[in-house]
Symmetry: C2
């Protein structure tokens, strides 16, 4: 098995991905890693002998965070990201991981790796931390802005299979993110997909309201990429805002500072629980190969967690499992069901 790594993406590149790979390499001596990016820079951040399973594919070009994704992918075929994607497309790598621009990863996944057979639209599926339980996988979090009921059904199938086989959740509970718990609730797409999810053979537990999204009530929450992206960023915004306000409370005076010192370890733990980096990578579901987005602020530990998901994705033969699941498992063919 070989994993391709875009070493140039993310806030802590190239140090964090290189260190993450070296740690993962000693954990899994049977896996090969191809580090794609600026060789001089990556050698500089880990000036030790590298194991033979870790190789370098040098590239000079990097896609920056502010570039328009699809255009950047087309104009920079030699960038670290596009090169990693090409390795997957050509079968020279089984999966790729990047912490760079999410849009560029999505574009590279679609334009270079290509869609999985039978897939109409893909989904980016990060696992959000929950207040109890093991997190909730949100599909889609931003790849498909206008998803129809057929797309949502495919997201549900892929995310459920990923939860089960990669994250190890037996019989994942799948919920439809909605504005109420009753079946008739929501917008036109939600009303249409509800019955299809109920008949899908998935462990569909009905609608899940946003209030309950982080309570651990479901393992997978399905929504279109617009709503999912709003959800993702709103949680970040509210979390940052509340922890910022808390910091003000804890520095308001001498007594508060003393109290803050007592509470600091617990509060840091609380904040870390809501640090997405803890939860590894977000799979880009629906492309014909492993394609994992590591969080932009991933440190070496978070990188290792994302790499572990990539390895497991390959070991579990997920591309095959998803293609089967979509073709003749829970998901009936489009022609027979759509109006």
């Amino acid at each position: 098995m070989r994993i391709a790594i875009d070493v140039m993406g993310g806030d802590l590149a190239p140090a964090a991905p290189v260190q993450g790979v070296l740690a993962m390499a000693s954990e899994r001596p049977d896996v090969s890693f191809v580090l794609v990016g600026d060789e001089v820079k990556m050698r500089a951040v880990a000036d030790v002998p590298w194991p033979r399973q870790v190789t370098v594919l040098h590239t000079d070009s990097v896609i920056e965070m502010d570039e328009e994704p699809a255009r950047a992918v087309r104009r920079k075929p030699d960038s670290s990201l596009v090169t990693a994607a090409r390795l997957v497309r050509d079968g020279e790598a089984d999966a790729m991981v990047s912490a760079g621009s999410t849009g560029a990863l999505v574009a590279a996944g679609l334009l270079v790796v290509g869609r999985l057979r039978g897939i109409h639209r893909p989904a980016l599926a990060p696992v959000l931390p929950t207040f109890s339980g093991n997190g909730v996988m949100l599909a889609d979090a931003g790849a498909t802005m206008d998803a129809d009921s057929h797309n949502l059904l495919q997201f549900a199938v892929m995310a459920s299979l990923y939860s089960q086989h990669v994250l190890g959740i037996a019989n994942p509970r799948v919920g439809l993110l909605n504005v109420g718990t009753e079946p008739g609730k929501g917008n036109a797409v939600c009303k249409e997909v509800y019955g299809r999810l109920a008949a899908s053979g998935l462990n569909f537990t009905g609608n899940v309201e946003a209030r309950e999204l982080l309570s651990g009530a479901v393992d997978v929450a399905v929504c279109d990429g617009f709503v999912g992206n709003v959800v993702l960023k709103l949680i970040e915004g509210v979390g940052l805002g509340l922890f910022g306000a808390l910091r003000e409370v804890l520095t308001a005076g001498m007594a508060q500072k003393l109290a803050g010192a007592v509470l600091k370890p617990s509060l840091v733990r609380l904040r870390n629980r809501f640090d997405y980096a803890e939860y590894g990578g977000a799979p880009f579901l629906g492309v014909a190969g492993g394609c994992i987005k590591a969080h932009g602020s991933s440190d070496a530990r978070a990188w290792r967690s994302a790499l572990r998901q990539a390895v497991r994705f390959v070991e579990q033969d997920m591309v095959q499992k998803m293609a089967q699941g979509l073709a003749h498992g829970v998901e009936p063919a489009r022609e027979e069901n759509d109006k």
Copy 2:
């Protein structure tokens, strides 16, 4: 001026609405209030002489929280909510306030009060607390699940006028809730409405990402009712979850409890800042009369704040201002602009 109050809705009914009205009545002796609901129950919770400006319209029937809204409004014409709405429709009251079921209020607004001339779909527009600044009005938060670009433009016009004249914000900054800041971002409706908002004459400041929604960057955020409702409930869920986790931290041991005692006043203030009840009522925009939804958990103080908004809505002649704004102000006629 006369305000009709559905005294039977909300968690603290009828005590909170009655006490809120009595407080408001002494603040505004020039305003008449009609309390609609069970007279025996409402007299029991405020066993004092009521001023002459406060009258009662007795009803036996109440719409419960779990009833299907449109059906309940049709089947219970004598309910406190529908009676209050009828007073507005018949010109016997200038505005109404209810803390009952949001869905039922929306249904009563549409089916009984009726739409404002020129309005295609209405919007419920609560003001969410922000980490800095004066809050952000979210339009729509759940009335119109599938809103097109014309609907969103109308929401923007109405919410902007409301912010300006009722909430007293000069030249309100209007943002489009979106997944990125660049103009081309988002789903099909967002892409379509962006240019229309930019050309509307409103103080349109572009897209606002969910991460910045509570930072005070805009005074009005526009989105469809599905997204808005998810936003509203997610903020509640994240807030409840984080304060719950914080409570655990503060009760984990003796030292933490002592620290918690020191911090308690500040933390309670922090929580109250994020208590929606602080921000008064959410106007139901687009109906032909004042229609204010008070938060379900409103206490007497929150009721007073919602009532103040209703009074100001009438004083400012908002129905007229909105009709004008939609007809020949910032909003061009639909026929000329839609494809």
